[in-house]
Amino acid sequence: MLRKKSGWKSILALTVVFALVLSGCASTEKSGNSNNAAEPSPSADAAVTAAPLTGGELSYALATSPDTLDPHRSGLAVAVRAIRTIHDNLVAQLPDGTIAPWLATEWEISEDGKSYTFKLRQDVKFHDGTPFNAEAVKFNYDRILNPETKAANSAALIRPYKSSEVIDEYTVKLNLETPSNAFLGNLSQALVSIVSPTAAQKYGDQLGKNPVGTGPFKFVSWEENSQITVERNADYNWAPPLVENQKAPYLDKVIFKIAPEEATRIGSVQSGQVLAGETIPPQNILALEKDEKLQLFKANTQGLPYTLFINQNKAPWNELKARQALQAAIDVDAIVKTLYLGTYDRAWSPLTPGTFGYDKSLEGGVKPDLDKANALLEELGYVKGADGIRVKDGKKLTLHYVDGSPNREKRNDIAAIIQQQLKQIGVAVEVEITKDVRSIVFESANYDIYGNSQVNSDPEALRSFYHSGAASVGGKQNLPAYKNAEVDSWIDQGLVEKDTAKRQELYANVQKAIIEQAVIIPIYVFPYTIAASKTVQGIKFDSLAYPLFNDTFIQK
């Protein structure tokens, strides 16, 4: 917008872009669950047909600093962007949710669903020359279980893994405590990718600074807070079906530049100092779409959308009517349109559209209705006082809204808007923005509403949020303090049900129940967005919207 453009040209460009965005949306909707496909811009389309060029460096601006490059210890999505380039998994999850071979060529699941036998590729070597084999797989998964590893998210992902048996050099059998439909999907996640056992033993704690995997790129250097460099693994020949190029990547190097300040990151992309930058805020997306030199890649994340959990352990939110009042009073559409300017999709269900089992029928179900909300609160005996805040038995109707800092994805702003929206129905919202979500929310359960999201590959993710057995908060309750035996059983069945259609139905039931009982207020689906120079071609995404650079090349 700082550059001058002739009026006609820009309008033309705009229409083209809009048309494509619209058609892109339409096509994703048509293909059902494949929302996570890259949204190609016109030249990108053209370029796919152009022959890839080998060589070049891709500079890619990351939004925060990775914590570690040890996949098993990392807890940050940003780390996964780099981890993904260095490490491979046994299996890959395709956009439609199906599981495809990767480092494992084929697998068998035992009848009781408690053991998985994988046949492994025999031509794979780690970057340090260590051969990839059944021992390596066993080492990796055992490593995650080992407390000394201080595994983070990977420990949760690998559950209910119990042990491994090396059948032969290239066959490994994984034993589970209980059967799990989510297990294979989870195995596709970068956080449980395979690291070199030699390197892990050699570096110990410091593997995170010296990662060695089997991935398309080899780790070169990590200048903390500045950049991470990976270079082409020339021997690479075992890419997942997610990408077209099965051999070594075209790029010589990918340089992840760490640029936490939005303005800096986007400015660098705009001025061409980096070829690509991630996490583009909505207001800039609109502007960048108009930039002739840039293109946008966008992939919706999977799992749980950003959801506001209403804590039913706090009165009056244990009352269905009170929660329904909130549901009716909060104008999610307005929030999403105002804050995300149409670049984020509104969420309707506890699951994102791309996730298996997503119940599309929920869409358009909840509509803002202030009268209804007011009426519901009246029914509960809350009467508006002089200051417009409702009172019952001398107690004001307040809502303690806890959100974390820093203001990720404008979530604090959602709180601000909801504060104003609920004022209209006489609810005083006390917004608490805290750095210490852990102690306020997860230790002392001191919140009426708290918002969260989770990137996941399987609807099993619902368990830790809605199953009464989950006790992530204070060891006593799940986030909404939701206890519903029916929902519990559907979730339990969903984990083991082998029939896809039946499983889908189970999860649909769960979603319907949760929305009907106003357990939560789903807000938005987060799209992972990359702005890149138009010379950058072929950025792909895995099922969780992490970028893949196997097909990427730079046009001259």
């Binding site: 407390p147 200048e223 807070n225 303005a263 800096t264 001025s271 100092q273 750095k435 852990r438």
Partner: protein
């Protein structure tokens, strides 16, 4: 002279020791269980938690913890990052050059711009030049650095494309952050030099110089400025301390590597060993810079030198 140096060294050591205690106590007083922020308590067994506590030593009394910490620090062991087990000292050392370069460059800019404007301002006291120079200087200290930093990026990186907006490799990436931080320093220096110059200009010896028929330029730049800079020199220590602290913000804005980023990240993540290490390290730097300034002051100023 030697005596003074030794006394100064000795007090510096005491101050460093004091700051070691302070750093330790501050970190100790930070609320929240560091162990719980390291791991997910729902996935880790109490035994692991206990072993982690023992490993960190947080289960022992304060003085014992301090003694062992001090002992380790004495041996160059600042502990390990809670987040990724990285040893703290190498981490600091790795980040130090970028921050030092930034601090030095911004100090340089602050000095050059600040002295220049300060002298102009003092010579033309109460005229337009003075008022302009003061306003310019005051703008430097009145603008939030993150804002001026972003404005710099907007103008010189995005619009004009003269300098990169981010990174810490090469002199080009140093320019904008150094300017962003330097204008803050320049603001302080302008005020300092102006006041100092005004004081010196009123000294009787300036009249003598003029009475001797020395050219006004020489009177100002050779004599007055030299006298004015000597007291200003003492402020370099304070200034570099402030600039060092300013890197916390500016390094984030310009996505630079450096100590400032390390400390702010560590504080957010309650990565206590890193916090301790960086704060202590910056205290040492502060003390060292002040020591050097103090000693060189004694060498440069014949008045102080005489009184030794």
């Amino acid at each position: 002279m030697l005596k003074t140096v030794i006394i100064r060294l000795f007090t510096s050591l005491l101050v460093i020791l004091g700051s070691l205690v302070l750093v330790f106590v501050i970190v100790y007083l930070l609320p929240g269980d560091p162990v719980l922020s390291m791991v997910d308590p729902s996935t880790v067994s109490p035994e692991v938690l206990a072993s982690l506590r023992a490993q960190l030593g947080v289960d022992r009394p304060l003085y014992e913890q301090f003694a062992s910490y001090a002992w380790k620090v004495l041996h160059g062991d600042f502990g390990q990052s809670i987040l990724n087990d990285e040893p703290v000292l190498p981490k600091i050392i790795a980040h130090l050059p970028a921050t030092l370069a930034l601090t030095a460059a911004s100090c340089f800019i602050a000095a050059v711009v600040g002295i220049w404007l300060g002298v102009l301002s003092a010579i033309h006291k109460d005229r337009w030049i003075d008022i302009t120079a003061r306003i310019v200087g005051l703008f430097g200290i009145s603008m939030p650095t993150f804002w001026s930093g972003i404005l710099l990026i907007l103008i010189f990186s995005i619009t004009l494309d003269w300098f990169p907006a981010m990174g810490s490799d090469g002199w080009k990436t140093l320019v904008l952050p150094a300017v962003g931080l330097g204008i803050v320093g320049a603001g302080f220096v302008v005020r300092l030099v102006r006041n100092s110059m005004l004081e010196v200009i009123n000294e009787p010896f300036i009249v003598t110089l003029r009475a001797k028929g020395i050219a006004e330029k020489l009177v100002m730049y050779r004599h007055a400025l030299r006298n004015a800079l000597i007291p200003a020199l003492t402020m370099i220590g304070v200034l570099s301390g402030e600039l060092l602290a300013g890197t916390v913000v500016i390094e984030t804005v310009f996505s630079r590597q450096g100590i400032g980023r390390v400390i702010s990240d560590a504080l957010m993540a309650k990565d206590l060993p890193v916090v301790q290490g960086v704060v202590f390290f910056s205290a040492i730097m502060y003390v060292l810079i002040n020591l050097i300034v103090d000693l060189s002051y004694r060498v440069i100023d014949p008045r102080v030198r005489r009184s030794q």
